[in-house]
Symmetry: C2
Subunit: 257 residues, 2 copies
């Protein structure tokens, strides 16, 4: 037949807490749902649950904003403690204006707020903020190893986050951590249908996979932080070596700092 | 069960020529493949076949580069005739350097080369270039009307193109024309799982759909320019009114001109 894949959410993933082992949580949820993983499946996880499991939650009351954060907070209408956290997590402020603060995260990822998030977390008695995982590629690699060991099948893992873009409205899913995935597929030097050499075709498969996952995952109250993509072309999609960090455009090639 | 959708390519779409009626071409290919469209299906088409059907191919020999194009061609190592075409198609040059030319297309879309493409087209005796459709939202609307009339079911249509991004390597699929799709899903003012008000969640569903489609569509020799996405949440995904042009960030909000 024809090229085809499917995307489904893993039902009944519980609220994740610091210390939870995600491979076990996912295994239990799959079993309870009568589902099992197959060779070539790509498991996509919302960054939020990876950060929670890794204890990346922080009480804003513990943050003491310095002068730069206080000034930037005024210019952006943001909480100075949150701005201090954003500065702590980044290497460079790219742009700011009221309600907007775009930085380069220490991981190399450019985006709003250094990926720090306050939605869908339990703020309990005081306001909390959730940082990105310290090393999302490493988190993805550990998860892949454990899931592969538990299931005996070859898998890919993608940790997704939602990103804004400078010229296009609305967030899309992007890959911030990958294991077992062909992240950037370099077709340069290949040929098109008519045998003409391709000069500039570098395809970002990881971000496309993340976007496909977020159509099920949702970003608000869907409660489907784990999504399985099944049936992708394994040769195009799977690769033992790649990591999401290769997506970050090198500084010297950045025309929009 | 759980939230789920599937993505499949329509097999045996022939090479498209100027004047081809895409709704009929797709109808015939589906029938030959024993497939039929269902209510809620989203039909994704590569921009290339829409442009070809609409006769947006142009011989480079017909283009006379002016002084600005010749200068820019030298700075970017590009064919001066191609640069003239790019300038004709755009309102503003945002950045250039050797091998890179980023402009704002007349449609408002920011990207490399004004979307003009030379791969997977028959160059015959002289070099050709393929422009974007004149009004991709209108193209999508006509296609949707015809497909709905022919099939009797409610459909969405997305015309996809591959875009680069300033801080992330590799192209991803984006929506440049839409009909029947909830393009931007505004969750601002809604609530998260804990009842906290969402302040900044505008989700670009059309670009995510385009990315999901390009995982099957491919960008080189896959020959699957038409992809069907089936099973998306209709309430989240379908909308009679939206158009892809709303994705373009308004000039006054652009921090990266």
């Amino acid at each position: 037949m024809t090229a085809q894949y499917s995307v489904f959410g893993v039902p009944d993933i519980p609220m994740i807490k610091h210390g939870d082992r995600l491979s076990e949580v996912i295994g239990r949820a799959l079993e309870a749902g009568g589902l099992s993983l197959q060779s070539g499946d790509v498991i996509c996880l919302a960054q939020k649950i990876v950060s929670k499991a890794e204890g990346r939650m922080l009480a804003l009351s513990s943050v003491k904003p310095g002068p730069e954060a206080r000034e930037l907070a005024q210019a952006t209408n943001k909480d100075p403690r949150m701005v201090q956290l954003i500065l702590d997590e980044s290497t460079e402020v790219l742009r700011h204006k009221p309600n907007v603060l775009i930085v380069r995260h220490k991981l190399g990822i450019v985006g709003a707020h250094a990926g720090i998030d306050q939605s869908n977390i339990d703020h309990q008695d005081e306001e909390q903020a959730l940082l990105l995982p310290e090393d999302p590629d490493a988190s993805a690699a550990v998860l892949r190893d454990e899931l592969q060991k538990n299931t005996g099948v070859d898998l890919g893992v993608v940790i997704t986050d939602s990103h804004n873009r400078p010229w296009r409205m609305g967030t899309i899913g992007c890959a911030i951590g990958c294991a077992g995935i062909r992240v950037l597929d370099d077709q340069v030097g290949g040929q098109d249908i008519y045998g003409r050499t391709l000069h500039a075709t570098l395809i970002n498969r990881a971000d496309a996979i993340a976007s496909a996952a977020t159509l099920v995952m949702g970003e608000t109250t869907e409660k489907l932080p784990v999504v399985v993509i099944r049936g992708l072309n394994a040769e195009q999609t799977l690769s033992a070596e790649d990591r999401a960090s290769v997506i970050n455009r090198p500084l010297e090639e950045d025309l929009f700092r």
